[in-house]
Amino acid sequence: NTESILYKVPHNFPLKKPRDSSTYARDVNLISSISLSGEAMSQITIEANTTDLELHNTTYIELADLQRDETYQIKVCWSAIHQISINNLQTITIPRFTEFQGTKSDYARILVTFQVLSDSYPSEHAMVPIQVSLITTRLGIPVDIYPTLIVMVLLVAGLVVTRAPHVLNDLLLKF
């Protein structure tokens, strides 16, 4: 199953410079992150606890190494063998020097956040693996779909060139 959103980084967003910034962790609640350093897409797998349905069970993932004015797709995938629902999938911005979930940084952070709720009967009490992908978009299309689109375009071209619909029609007429 998939839930996704698009996020455009504002043109004036104060992105961090890799060398001169740091995050300070006050306790063990470090926030996971996905980094797009030199990549068009990146993915992490997290485990969400469906046992605890309290709001503090919200998942936060930092999106790192983004570019200004770029649009990204944030995609959350989980296997349908776990009947869960992903709610309130959104991005939030944490100003610099602001404490958040026991962490503080000297740069403004962009986080994706969502809640995982068990939606099955009987309720599933388990750690459900969830994949979160951060994907650059080009021409409004996430780049991970491009290989499939290319195959489909080539296929359509092949069907047109070989006049496949016509051939199929003739086959059915003569068979």
Binding site: T2, C77, Y121, P122, V151, P165, L172, F175
Partner: protein
């Protein structure tokens, strides 16, 4: 004939499986790797060449539920919503899986093999069913053979496309539906001059074979419950002709048995399994001491987990899904008009009712694009297409088709694009589902 059909079946399936192989490994929905990690113990097996480039791609959409049930320890669903996926199909596939081999890839390969065998056999049964329907006298037998060949070939070119490359339960229903319709057709006397009748000697093929096949098809895929309309139609016809004893012993008995089986599956078993502790749908009991609830488990699952219900799918974001279904909506509606108004055929009357009911139900209550996947259990639109193809067998006429022939040509052209494209979409885990 059989050889020709077999060769084309193998050719079409080979092309589809080649397309699955050529589809890029990275799927839109990346969860297959999560599924495999949970169900399969060996990363080496998951990443072996053929699994990576071929078999893993077949575990998209509903295949996930089927593979989970097939490979589970007892073959039973773990959660309530999993009851929406055929337990009959799970049971059937498990019969063919060696008990000492617990690899999910073994289960997948066996499931895919059974899927293909059932799909092929359904096409062959459809050939004989079509021949039976369209050859009411000797003069028509050549016509019937031609139309039967084209019908089976069209069936192999089903718009269900990529879904049937995997382990979906549809082919099991196709097979039972066609055998059931065939058995009924062999049993009834069509009133060319006389009255509708079912001779007593056909009690077994009608009341046992047809009834069993329709029941199994419905237990497997709930949309096949519409096949019960055959029994309602026959009941009305026999009653109209004052053949009351036959009406009781043939359609009423068969329909009642089919209804009882569905009642058992949809109401009694779920109630026994989940109620009263489940609450929700359990609370909608009609009478306090009886297991019958206002909402069946299947309806509840469809509504609660997948938002199925009257006009619930009619939202702007689903316009693309309606567009995907348009070719089949048109062809199903036209076929019902064709065989009721243009070339009215008495022995297709019940099937016309069933086809119309399916279109109405799917358009107003269900996720409309599933029509592409499920419509093939009814052969009416295939007969319409085949009939038009026989009547305009001159390819020159089809260069500039008119009226019905234009619709037929567009539908075939659409199939030529839809089948390979949908196969790739399925292998890439991309919508529509």
């Amino acid at each position: 004939m059989i050889v020709g059909l077999t060769l084309y079946f193998v050719l079409f399936r080979s092309i589809q499986y080649l397309l699955v192989f050529l589809t890029p490994i990275r799927q839109f929905d990346t969860s297959t790797s999560l599924l495999l990690n949970e169900l399969c113990s060996s990363p080496f097996e998951i990443n072996s060449y053929w699994n990576k480039y071929f078999w893993n791609k077949l575990l998209s959409w509903d295949s996930v539920f089927f593979i989970k049930n097939i490979t589970s320890k007892n073959g039973k669903p773990q959660f309530e919503h999993e009851y929406a996926f055929s337990q009959l199909w799970t049971f059937f596939v498990r019969l063919f899986i060696k008990s000492n081999n617990d690899s999910i890839y073994h289960a997948l390969r066996v499931g895919v093999a059974i899927e293909n065998v059932l799909f092929y056999l359904s096409g062959i049964v459809l050939y004989f069913l079509t021949k039976k329907i369209f050859s009411q006298n000797i003069r028509q037998s050549q016509f019937a053979r031609t139309i039967a060949k084209k019908t089976s070939l069209l069936f192999f070119l089903t718009s269900a496309a990529g879904f049937l490359t995997s382990i979906y339960s549809e082919p099991l229903s196709f097979f039972f539906a066609f055998v059931g319709i065939w058995s009924r057709e062999c049993s009834i006397s069509v009133p060319v001059l006389g009255q509708f009748d079912i001779p007593w000697r056909y009690w077994f093929p009608y009341s046992f074979i047809s009834m069993t096949c329709f029941t199994l098809a419905s237990l497997n895929r709930s949309n096949c419950v519409l096949l019960g309309i055959y029994f309602i139609f026959d009941l009305i016809e026999l009653t109209k002709n004052r053949k009351f004893v036959k009406a009781i012993c043939f359609p009423l008995l068969s329909g009642s048995l089919m209804f009882s089986a569905l009642l058992y599956q949809q109401y009694y078993l779920p109630y026994k399994t989940f109620c009263p502790q489940r609450g929700e749908w359990c609370k909608s009991q009609l009478f306090s001491s009886i297991f019958i609830t206002k909402t069946s488990l299947y309806s509840y699952i469809q509504s609660h987990y997948w938002g199925v219900g009257l006009l619930k799918y009619w939202t702007p974001n689903n316009i693309p899904n309606f567009l995907f279904a348009v070719p089949n909506i048109i062809i199903l509606i036209y076929s019902s008009i064709y065989f009721s108004k243009i070339y009215p055929s008495y022995n297709l009357k019940a099937l016309v009712w069933i086809t119309r009911a399916l279109v109405v139900i799917v358009c107003f209550f269900a996720h409309v694009q599933i029509l592409n996947r499920i419509a093939s259990f009814l052969p009416l639109h295939l007969w319409y297409l085949a009939d038009r193809l026989v009547k305009t067998s001159d390819p020159k006429k089809m260069e500039n088709p008119k009226g019905d022939d234009k619709i037929v040509k567009f539908y075939i052209y659409w199939l030529a694009f839809w089948i390979p494209l949908q196969t790739i979409l399925f292998a890439a885990f991309l919508p529509p589902a």
